[in-house]
C-alpha cells in the first residue's frame, strides 16, 4: 500500500482542513471551491481503492520502470566516509521522480471524469511528465511555463511539444515557476472543468497530501531495498533537495514517524543565502500564503512575494510545501542549503566518480555531503531525483569557464 495504515495517527498527516500544524489549508477564490472540494472528498478513497492500486502499480512497473535501483555509490562512499546510497529516480521514464505523481494523478483525473489537463512547470520535468501521461491516456494537455524557464530548459519544451502538449509562456513577475503556477491557477479559475495536475506538494489542500502520497512510492521501495542490502529498513540519514518539495516528501514519507531517521532537506541558496539572490525559503521566509496554501514564504514586510533566484529552474520557488514548513518548524527535518556553485561542483563530482550526470536540482542535495561529518558506518540515502540531460547547456558553460 502506498498509504499509511488508517489506524496509525501520524502528526505528519494533515487534519480535516488540510493543515500540517499551522501550515496548509485551502486559500482559494470561491470559484475553485467546487473543484477542490470534489478532489478532497474523493482522493483518498480513489487512491486506496484496489482498482487504482492495481493500475497505478502496473503503470509504475511496466511504464515508469519501477522499482528504481537503490545503488551503493562506492566511490562517493569512500570519499565522504559513509555508506552512501543513491535512490535512482533519475532512471524513471522521462528522467525524474515527477512521473510517479503524474501517473497517479492522471488515474484520479480519469476516475473523476476529467478530460482536459493543465499543469505548471519550472524545470520542465513535471511538464514533460504530465504531457507524457496525457499522451498515454489521450487527454488534452496545457502546460504553463515561465518565459525565462522556457529559454533555460529548452530541451524539455521540445519534448512537451512532441508529446502533444500546448506550452503557454507565463510572462508575469519573475517569469519562472511561481508565475507559471499563478497562470495555471488563473486558467483553472476560468476553465473549472479542467483538472489541475499540480507538480509538487504545494497548492490548496488536498493537493500537498495527494502528491506526497503518490510520491511515497520512493520511500516505500527504500524500505525493502535497504532491508535487503543492509538488513535494516531504516537508513540513518535521508537527503533530498527541496523546491516545492515533492521528491523530498516522497523520500521522507514512510520515515516521518521514525524519529531516529535523520531527514535533511536542501534548499537552493543561489548566490548565497543572504546575497539577495536566493531561494532558501526556510532561512528567508515567514508565515504566509502562496498558491492557496499557508506555508513559509519569501516576502517583504507588506506581504508582497519576493522573487526567488536559483540557477536551477526546479528550485527557485519562494515558498515550500506546507508539510515541509511543518517539518522545518517542528525540527523533524534539518534544512540546509547549497549555492549555485556548490551544486555545479557536486554535479561534476558525481559525474566524474560515479558516471552519473544528475539534474541541477538533485546536485543541491549532493552538495551537502561535503558539509556533513559522517560516522564511518552511517547509512545515508541521497534521493537522486532527476538526471541532468536538460541541464547540459548550463553544464557546457561550466566546462568552458
Amino acid at each position: 500500500m502506498i498509504t499509511q495504515n488508517k489506524d496509525m495517527k501520524s502528526k505528519f498527516h494533515p487534519d480535516k482542513n488540510g493543515y500540517f500544524g499551522q501550515f496548509g489549508g485551502a486559500f482559494i477564490p470561491e470559484l475553485l471551491h467546487p473543484n477542490v472540494q470534489e478532489l478532497a472528498d474523493n482522493y483518498i478513497q480513489i487512491i486506496e481503492s484496489s482498482e487504482f492500486q492495481i493500475e497505478y502499480k502496473d503503470l509504475l512497473k511496466e511504464y515508469v520502470g519501477r522499482p528504481t535501483p537503490l545503488y551503493l555509490a562506492k566511490r562517493l562512499s569512500e570519499k565522504y566516509g559513509a555508506h552512501v546510497y543513491l535512490k535512482r529516480e533519475d532512471l524513471c521514464h522521462t528522467g525524474a521522480h515527477k512521473i510517479n505523481n503524474t501517473v497517479g494523478q492522471i488515474l484520479i483525473a480519469k476516475k473523476l471524469g476529467k478530460t482536459k489537463i493543465i499543469a505548471e512547470t519550472g524545470a520542465g520535468q513535471h511538464g514533460v511528465a504530465t504531457a507524457t501521461v496525457c499522451a498515454l491516456m489521450g487527454l488534452e494537455c496545457t502546460v504553463f511555463m515561465g518565459e525565462k524557464d522556457i529559454v533555460r530548459q529548452a530541451p524539455n519544451v521540445t519534448r512537451m511539444k512532441m508529446l502533444g502538449a500546448k506550452v503557454v509562456p507565463a510572462t508575469s513577475g519573475s517569469k519562472t515557476l511561481k508565475d507559471a503556477t499563478n497562470e495555471a491557477i488563473r486558467y483553472w479559475i476560468q476553465h473549472p472543468e479542467t483538472f489541475y495536475l499540480i507538480g509538487s506538494v504545494v497548492g490548496p489542500a488536498p493537493h500537498p497530501d495527494m502528491v506526497a502520497r503518490l510520491q511515497a512510492i520512493i520511500s516505500e521501495e527504500m524500505k525493502w531495498q535497504l532491508k535487503e542490502k543492509t538488513g535494516k529498513e531504516n537508513p540513518d540519514t535521508i537527503i533530498a533537495c527541496v523546491g516545492g518539495g515533492s521528491n523530498a516528501a516522497g523520500a521522507f514519507y514512510h520515515y516521518l514517524d521514525d524519529e531516529n531517521v535523520e531527514l535533511i532537506a536542501v534548499e537552493a541558496a543561489g548566490l548565497g543565502v543572504h546575497s539577495g539572490e536566493s531561494a532558501a525559503t526556510s532561512q528567508l521566509g515567514q508565515v504566509g500564503i502562496i498558491h492557496g496554501s499557508k506555508t513559509i514564504l519569501m516576502q517583504d514586510e507588506y506581504g508582497q512575494i519576493v522573487e526567488p533566484y536559483s540557477i536551477s529552474a526546479g528550485l527557485d520557488y519562494p515558498g515550500v510545501g506546507p508539510l515541509h514548513a511543518f517539518l522545518y518548524e517542528s525540527g523533524r527535518a534539518k534544512f540546509m542549503s547549497a549555492t549555485d556553485q556548490e551544486a555545479l561542483d557536486a554535479a561534476f563530482e558525481l559525474t566524474k566518480i560515479e558516471g552519473i550526470i544528475p539534474a541541477l536540482e538533485t546536485a543541491h542535495a549532493l552538495a551537502v555531503l561535503d558539509k556533513i561529518t559522517f560516522r564511518k558506518d552511517q547509512v545515508v540515502v541521497v534521493n537522486l531525483s532527476g538526471r541532468g540531460d536538460k541541464d547540459l547547456e548550463i553544464y557546457t558553460k561550466y566546462l568552458e569557464a
Binding site: I28, E30, L31, S172, G173, G288, I289, I290, Q299, E301
Partner: protein
Amino acid sequence: MNSIQELLQKKDKNVLSIYFTCGYPNLEDTTNVISALGESGVDFIEVGLPYSDPLADGPTIQESSHEALENGINLDVIFEQLKTIKETNKTPLIAMGYLNQLLKYGEDKFCQACVDCGIDTVILPDLPMVEFENHYRQLFDKYGLTNIFLITPHTSEDRIRKIDSYSKAFIYVVASASITGAKGEISSNQIGYFERIRAMNLQSKLIIGFGISDKTTFNTACSYANGAIVGSAFIKHLGTNGIGKIDDFIKPIIS
C-alpha cells in the same frame, strides 16, 4: 450600521461601484481618484490594495498593481493617504486585497488601520468560508468590519444560503467563471445564473461584478441585481486618460 448596508437601504437600484488600484497611475493619485469618483456620482468605491501575486485578477489589474508597487505604494502609505480624506470623503469605501497582505501586516494592525481610515468593509477573494468561520469572523467582529463573500456560477445553493446568512452588506455575484477583466457581452447562460440567484430570495443585497465594463453591461447587470462593480475597464480608462477624465468614464454609465 455598516456604511455599505446603510447605502443599500437608501438606494437599492442601479448602484454603481468602481474598483481602482491605490497608487495608480501615480503614487499620490489614491485620494484624487477617490474624490473624483465621489464627485462623479459613484455610490461606493473598492479600494484595491496592490498585491504582487493577485490570483483572482486578470492582466489589467495585475499590471496596474505592478505599476503601483513600482511607484512605491505599500499598506502604510495607503492608510496614511486614506486618513487625510477621512473627514471629507462621503463615499463608502471597501478595502480589497489578498489575505497574505493582512497576515503579514498583522491581522489586528490591518483591521485597526481600516477603522482609522473610516473603512468598515473588506473583500479578500482568497479568504475561504471555512477560515472565516474558524477565525476571521471573530477578528472582524472585534473591529466592526464586514466581510463581503463572493459567489460564482458554480457555487452550490446550500453554500449560497450559508453565505447569505453571513453577509451583512451584500453578496458579490461573480458574473462568470472568470478572473477580473473579462470582456464582451453578458451571455444567456449568465442571465440564467442571475435569474437563478434572484429567484432564491436571499436576504442580502446582490451586486454583480467581473466583466462589467460599460453602460450596456451595467444596465443588464442592474436588471438582475441591486447594482454592479466596474474594475478593469475603469483602470484601462485611467491608464489611458489620467485622473482628469474620470467623469468621461462614469457619466455615460449612470446617465
